[in-house]
């Protein structure tokens, strides 16, 4: 009887220790990237991915690609220019731009050329090669592929709030402009509306 009580006490102690350990441990679960996770209601990776997928898909099904191919016989070269955040939230534009670039490249319909800071880094590296690389391996100057079109855009937000309920409206505008003659060949718009109900109580 005494032994049985001891065994029960030991089991209970182990169980309690286990519960405490599980309760204290940080838990990390891997989740699927397609599974939307809206924690705060702010702009997140799902918004960035969905907007870039939909807008690039729309861009690539419009007539400007066919027109370009007919005129030049080649795929259009596109560079991503400035995308401005004009909203009330700090948005990581780098991930959004990367999402757009990925969609453009993977679609295989356009040739994508590097722009912005990346292009400067590449040019710096090319300049270094002229001094330090073997002459037959150094990348030559003046061989960059000039872009035919530049993609620019803005992210705007409108916030309406009453009590603990907030409606956040995001409007992403992207435009593709011909570098040859400044004509706009495509304009796309994607809107996201989020209803955020903030809890009255916290734990």
């Amino acid at each position: 009887m005494k032994r049985r009580t001891k065994a029960i006490a030991a089991s209970a102690a182990w169980l309690l220790a286990g519960i405490l350990l599980v309760g204290c441990a940080t838990q990390v679960d891997r989740i699927d990237r397609d599974e939307p996770q809206d924690l705060s209601g702010r702009w997140n990776d799902t918004d960035s991915r969905l907007v870039s997928e939909e807008m690039v898909s729309d861009m690539l099904t419009r007539g400007w690609i066919g027109d370009h191919r007919q005129r030049t016989g080649d795929r259009p070269a596109v560079v991503v220019g400035e995308i401005r955040n004009l909203g009330h939230e700090h948005i990581n534009l780098n991930t959004f731009i990367r999402d757009i670039e990925r969609e453009l490249i993977n679609a295989g319909e356009v040739t994508f050329v590097a722009g912005g800071v990346e292009r400067e880094q590449i040019r710096d590296e090319r300049a270094d090669q002229q001094d330090f690389a073997r002459p037959d391996t150094a990348a030559p100057w003046g061989q960059e592929l000039g872009a035919d079109y530049m993609l620019t855009g803005t992210i705007n937000t409108i916030v309406d709030e009453e009590g603990r309920t907030q409606v956040a409206y995001y409007q992403v505008d992207l435009a593709l402009t011909s570098l040859r003659d400044n004509t706009r060949v495509w304009v796309g718009q994607k809107e996201i509306r989020k209803l955020i109900r903030r809890g009255l109580f916290r734990s």
Binding site: S40, N85, G87, E89, H90, V159, E161, R198, G199, R202
Partner: protein, 440 residues
């Protein structure tokens, strides 16, 4: 009721027997409180000495406190700003903003604890003026880092926050909004958003007028220039007449000029101190009333001026943190008194009941209650006491800038020369901290 010296004999516990331990324990509790304050005083002493690494090290113990998470990051962000680590400051301020947002929801247990146990038993939630200054300093961090878009985001968050408090007018109850609106205008202007800048400047002007303080010269000039640029002729003439301004640079020249902002953080923000009174509620039962009081810590700085390229601009006072804190505390006082009364009534009832069972245990409960009754003296103490701001619009290029720090009667306390490479259409922010013993 009467002061602690008064008293009598009740039940089996002699008054003398009671008074000695009560007074001893009270003294100990006060020493313990002062000790907590001393830890933070070390942070401030190191800041005044200019040793920001040591200040950060003394700040670290606050990091572990779940209730003071926002306060820790606000102080850390400010110390890092003093140190010139603006990226670190931005990260700390962002964490503080997130935590503050999380704390908007009510915690039932914490609310009950403040009514039943002690002030300061809840998570630190910055008052509105501190919240606004958190955004304003974050905005200045972004401007100094050259991230104009992020500065604009902060300006929009300031507007959103103020509209949440006062949907019609966007006013802050205790101040802090004038400076926040003023720097918002500068951020909008730097981004070329003229109409947003005009709205922000107008709101800053209204807020300064409500506080009955002088309108900073930079704001006066900005209002006239922007109203002129937006062809608001009547409004422009009104400002020009009110501020006695007869000539101004057209806004169109902004793109050829570089905006130089000089921000001087003078003194340290006010600290909250505890004012305690122990009174005898019954023959051998004491109650303690502790309320916070404000101690401003101004500096000797009374003004500043910047000269470059033959142009002089005065740095005007744009924010009085101690003034805003004073108004905030005055507004809080009825609630603090009500909660103190509520806690003491609850403790009195519990102590009486326990004392009926056991006088010795009753004494212990009474002493424990006296220990617990402490005022909440937490506030953002690394804020400056006041903020001075000057603006110059200069031609681009390498410029030498003469900075003068002025005391009473416009006497020059110190001078400094800095050089900066100014870009056309860009913003250059110069940051100074005046803590009397140290100037950086």
């Amino acid at each position: 009721m009467g002061p602690v010296a008064a008293g009598g004999i009740h039940g089996a516990v002699p008054a003398g027997w009671l008074r000695v331990p009560v007074c001893l324990l009270l003294a100990l509790s006060l020493v313990a409180c002062a000790g907590m304050g001393r830890d933070f005083q070390r942070v401030e002493s190191e800041l005044v000495r200019g040793d920001t690494d040591a200040a950060l090290a003394y700040l670290e113990p606050l990091a572990g406190s779940r209730l003071n998470r926002a306060l820790y990051d606000m102080n850390r962000g400010m110390v890092l700003r003093h140190a010139g680590d603006l990226d670190g400051s931005v990260a700390a301020f962002e964490r503080a903003k997130r935590e503050t947002g999380r704390l908007e929801a009510i915690s039932v247990s914490e609310t009950l604890a403040t009514w039943a146990v002690a002030e300061g038993a809840d998570s630190y939630q910055p008052p509105t003026h501190e919240h606004l200054l958190l955004h304003a300093f974050q905005l200045l961090n972004f401007l100094e880092l050259g991230d104009l878009e992020a500065a604009r985001v902060e300006a929009l968050q300031i507007d959103l926050g103020l509209r949440r408090i006062d949907p019609a007018e966007g006013r802050a109850p205790d101040g802090g909004d004038a400076f926040a609106r003023h720097v918002s205008g500068l951020a909008f202007e730097a981004n070329g958003d003229w109409s947003d800048a005009m709205i922000a400047y107008r709101r800053a002007y209204q807020a300064y007028r409500r506080q009955d303080v002088a309108i900073p010269a930079d704001l006066q000039r900005s209002l006239v220039r922007l109203a002129d640029h937006l062809e608001l002729v009547e409004e422009r003439d009104g400002y020009a007449e009110a501020f006695d301004i007869s000539g101004w640079e057209p806004m169109a020249r902004n793109r050829d000029r570089a905006m130089v902002l000089w921000v001087v953080q003078a003194g340290l923000g006010p600290r909250l101190e505890e004012r305690t009174m122990v009174v005898q509620a019954a023959a051998d039962q004491f109650v303690r009333v502790s309320l916070p009081a404000l101690r401003p810590r101004p500096s000797s700085l009374r003004g500043a001026r910047i000269t470059a390229n033959g142009t002089l601009a005065n740095a005007d006072p744009t924010e009085s943190v101690s003034g805003a804190a004073d108004r905030w505390l005055e507004r809080q006082m009825p609630g603090l008194i009500a909660r103190s009364v509520s806690r003491n009534v609850a403790r009195y009832a519990v102590t009486e009941r326990v004392r009926e069972e056991s006088p010795a245990l009753g004494l212990l409960v009474n002493v424990a209650g006296l220990f617990l009754e402490q005022s909440d003296t937490r506030n953002w103490r690394t804020l400056p006491d006041s903020i001075y701001l000057a603006r110059l619009d200069l031609p681009p290029g390498e410029r030498r800038l003469q900075l003068e720090y002025l005391g009473g009667n416009a006497s020059v306390l110190a001078t400094e020369e800095r050089s900066a490479t100014l870009a056309a259409g860009g913003v250059t922010v110069l940051r100074s901290v005046w803590l009397d013993a140290v100037r950086r």
